[in-house]
Symmetry: C3
Subunit: 391 residues, 3 copies
């Protein structure tokens, strides 16, 4: 018994089986078949390996973004001069990847808690107190109808905000000239690579004077707000008036088989929603605005200045992808390739066995039938075959 195992083991190790093939010397089939095989080969090499880099394993980046706006605006509203600096127009202040630059606003100063009539915007009309009695959930009614404005009196921060008209032109039209500085750090965990958008060629002296331009300065991390808006397909004065949201995409597509220096960001800009071109139908909710309040205490009374802010909302989105040679995807691609080669053989065989005039001949060459031999199975036919040459 032991010797049987030993023999099978040695058989396994010292024997090697390889498929027997028919060499079909038929030019037509051969040429077709070689062409198919070359096609498969060139597909695997050209497309999978060269173009799609199928030999690489891919990692997506985890990233961190820090932004800083610069610039000052000067407004003169009916003789009242005012300067707006970064602390005044950026929300939130700490340099997030998503922030809003105020370009227009409706300010309601000195609001305090109290009772006052609703805005006479046509929707809240009343003629007598009875119309103001019902408990609508959106506003807290006092039950009185103000005869001057013909609107119901409500509990509210008073006076109520009047946002019926958006200032036109936008108050901070000069926001166009603000600059945005973006710092972006990405990490490819799998490859242990950390990279910043301040790449090798972007040094201190370059940063101090550069301004992003898609052609001449594609790596400068300082952007003019007006440029960002224009690049995204919007019209600045329109966006500045009613607000709009813009995505700034930092696209990293790195081939880490090359020098790390070639791993550079690409900046792209696009309108997220809002007053874009011909999307009246598809995107019904235009503009961008939000309200915030500056609270203060005056004469022991809490007051606030309510601001309805229209502005450019910028979302910085990082899309990082790096590829590097790895044995697993390489072998998977090769394995699949060999599989597809098998498909090529199947196609050629179909041609050979079903379409050629001499198909029966090829069939008999390719296939050995077990039927006949089953009649006299005592002696395996291959042994007979093997003995024949000795005759």
């Amino acid at each position: 018994m032991k010797s049987v195992i030993k023999r099978s083991f040695s058989d396994f190790f010292f024997e090697y089986e390889t498929p027997r093939q028919v060499l079909v010397k038929n030019k037509r089939v051969a040429v077709v078949c070689r062409i198919i095989q070359l096609g498969v080969l060139s597909y695997i090499i050209g497309w999978v390996f060269m173009y799609e880099k199928g030999y690489q394993t891919v990692d997506t980046a985890i990233s961190s973004v820090f932004t800083k706006m610069k610039g000052v605006s000067y407004t003169n509203i009916s003789g009242k001069e005012r300067i707006w600096d970064v602390a005044d127009y950026v929300f939130p202040e700490q340099g997030d990847s998503s922030f809003v630059v105020m370009t227009n606003y409706i300010s309601t100063e000195g609001q305090k808690q109290g009772k006052c009539p609703e805005l006479p915007d046509g929707k809240n009309n009343c003629t007598s107190d009875t119309a103001c009695d019902e408990g609508k959930y959106k506003r807290q009614m006092t039950g009185k109808c103000n005869t001057n404005t013909s609107t119901c009196e409500i509990y509210s921060w008073c006076p109520v905000e009047d946002d019926r008209e958006i200032p036109n032109p936008p108050i901070l039209r000069t926001a166009e000239n603000y600059t945005l500085f973006i710092k972006n750090s990405i990490t490819f965990r799998q490859f242990n690579v950390v990279r910043s958008n301040l790449v090798e060629s972007v040094n201190q002296s370059y940063i101090s004077k550069c301004l992003y331009h898609s052609q001449t300065d594609p790596l400068c991390p300082i952007f003019r707000l007006g440029d960002i808006v224009e690049h995204s397909g919007f019209n600045f004065s329109e966006v500045a008036r009613v607000g709009g949201a813009i995505g700034v995409l930092i696209d990293w597509d790195c081939n880490l088989d090359l020098n790390i220096r070639h791993c550079k960001p690409k900046y792209e800009f696009y309108g997220l929603y809002g007053t874009g071109k011909n999307d009246q139908e598809e995107k019904p909710s235009l503009g961008y605005n939000f309200r915030y309040a500056k609270y203060y205490v005056e004469d022991k009374l809490e007051k606030r200045t309510l601001m309805k802010v229209f502005g450019v909302r910028i979302d910085i989105i990082v899309h990082g992808r790096a590829g590097k040679f790895d044995i697993i995807p390489t072998l998977t691609a090769i394995g699949s390739g060999v599989g597809i080669f098998g498909v090529a053989t199947v196609v050629c065989d179909l041609l050979l066995l079903y379409l050629l005039p001499k198909r029966d001949f090829y069939k008999s060459m390719k296939f050995k039938n077990t039927e006949d031999q089953e009649e006299n199975p005592t002696l395996p036919p291959s042994q007979k075959e093997r003995e024949l040459p000795k005759e």
Copy 2:
């Protein structure tokens, strides 16, 4: 030499090799084998191609979210009427994808820098000044023990906040009726597709009156806060009192081989941590609160109103995935499929060669042994073989 190369080249091009096969006419093996092969085939076609859409290449979305709350609350605390609007209860104000809606608070008004006794919450008791001498890092002691409260005196914003009792019921219980409007834009970079959650059927007039309902209005982007909380498995009044965090998942699963109109978002809600059902043991840190201060100057002195805010924190999470037909994954799937077909053949062969009674016969049919011929290797046997038919 040149002719040798030429000949091998023409040989390569005009010859074509195809494996020789044995046609085994054995019903048992054949049926088993065909069943295995059909199983593999139906797995490849049914599962890989139809169900998992293995012929598609997949891209994940990059997205941008903008939110807007609406609604007003009215409170009457010991006769002091007050209205709370969006600027008062949303943090941060600018419509981020992650924000907090205040539903309850502990307010400490008129704090100013100074010295005052610690809160007598039982942990900071003292009987004499000596107990207050040590330099604990959390509080800056003055070294005195206040005899009224029996607590140490500290440098602090005074008076210190008393958060021993959380108001119950929550002060802004009516937050339940606030509505949340979500705008979400997603981009599939690879397919150059941009899509918004305001899909075709969600037009201006629909938005102005709709409210999200999982059955009747699954695409309406306006949500009632109370509904969100209930959908996520929480109890609103409980969450409103101590706070809680809720994830709103916008799930895009798009098949871009179909019309883009079928690419629609699905909204899901779930409690992130907090007062969920029976998770007392597993998630020890319940509730959600944070502190913020409103600063002001009164009588040349900086003061602040400290707010301990309890609220519903909403994290909007976008999960986008789109598939589209692509030749690479298709061929990879086919290649793997052919490989698995090979496995089927191996299984059938094992059956044929090791389990059947006539296994030796089939072995001799399948394998040609090189051993015997090695004895007289001068003449290749295949040539003999080939000559034989001519005899």
Copy 3:
């Protein structure tokens, strides 16, 4: 016709073809070939299946983070005592995944809108009004040159901020002792698994007293700010003075084939940009600061306290990845493996047919040529062959 179809159908089902093989009894080739095959097999089993877990399908997490700082600082600036608590030093206040802890600042109190000379920092010198006439876009000039400071007069919030000197040592040096509590919830959509960083062993009593330590308490979700900074490779006092950005990575690498209890987070810390080690050349933009303003009304006049805040910016980044057994990747891996097996056979064949001395013999064994038979194609040779044994 019908019977023909029926016969082909029964042929298909009751016949089974298996490739004919040559059993090469050549030790050298066999051993080489078996070694290659074993190599492929052990690669597939060991690397693809065991190490890379190729039998698993992989999902990335969607996550939500909530943070809470704790700690109080005491400063004494020229006799003016002041306490800083969470509401004073964290931006934004609501516990975002990305926030700033103030460690140093330059405060400009009582700014109001007006005209004042620019900061005499050497860049804005003027000797006469003419030098201040031009319309630089960054500042709004009044056109006058202030003779005291020798700088142009501008419209601005006055007095202008003097940020020429950053306080050293940092004012809130004790920020080192603040603690950060991180709550993180992750969801693997595909596997329907929700998980929190407060894992089983992190219960209420443990949280109340633990502090993260990479060796002894790797799961404690409470971190000392000083530790975070040191772990990330920075020097705390340097970062505290000029600011710096730190990434806190929560890394989840879960094998869901095991018990869910083994799915635990790992915390890592690294400097994102800023005053790291020997990166003077590569990362030119050091430090981290931003400006914000606290507005108030005094004597009917809007004023503000401008703060230039230097601080530790912490970005919490979650990287979640879970694998679970799935039939598709398993079969894909097996399929590719069989394909690579084919490659092994091809390599062995090359060896056999082109390098061995007896290559012609093996060639004749492996290949059957169709050429000779083409001369008398009337009778398929295989039939002759088959008849031969009967002789």
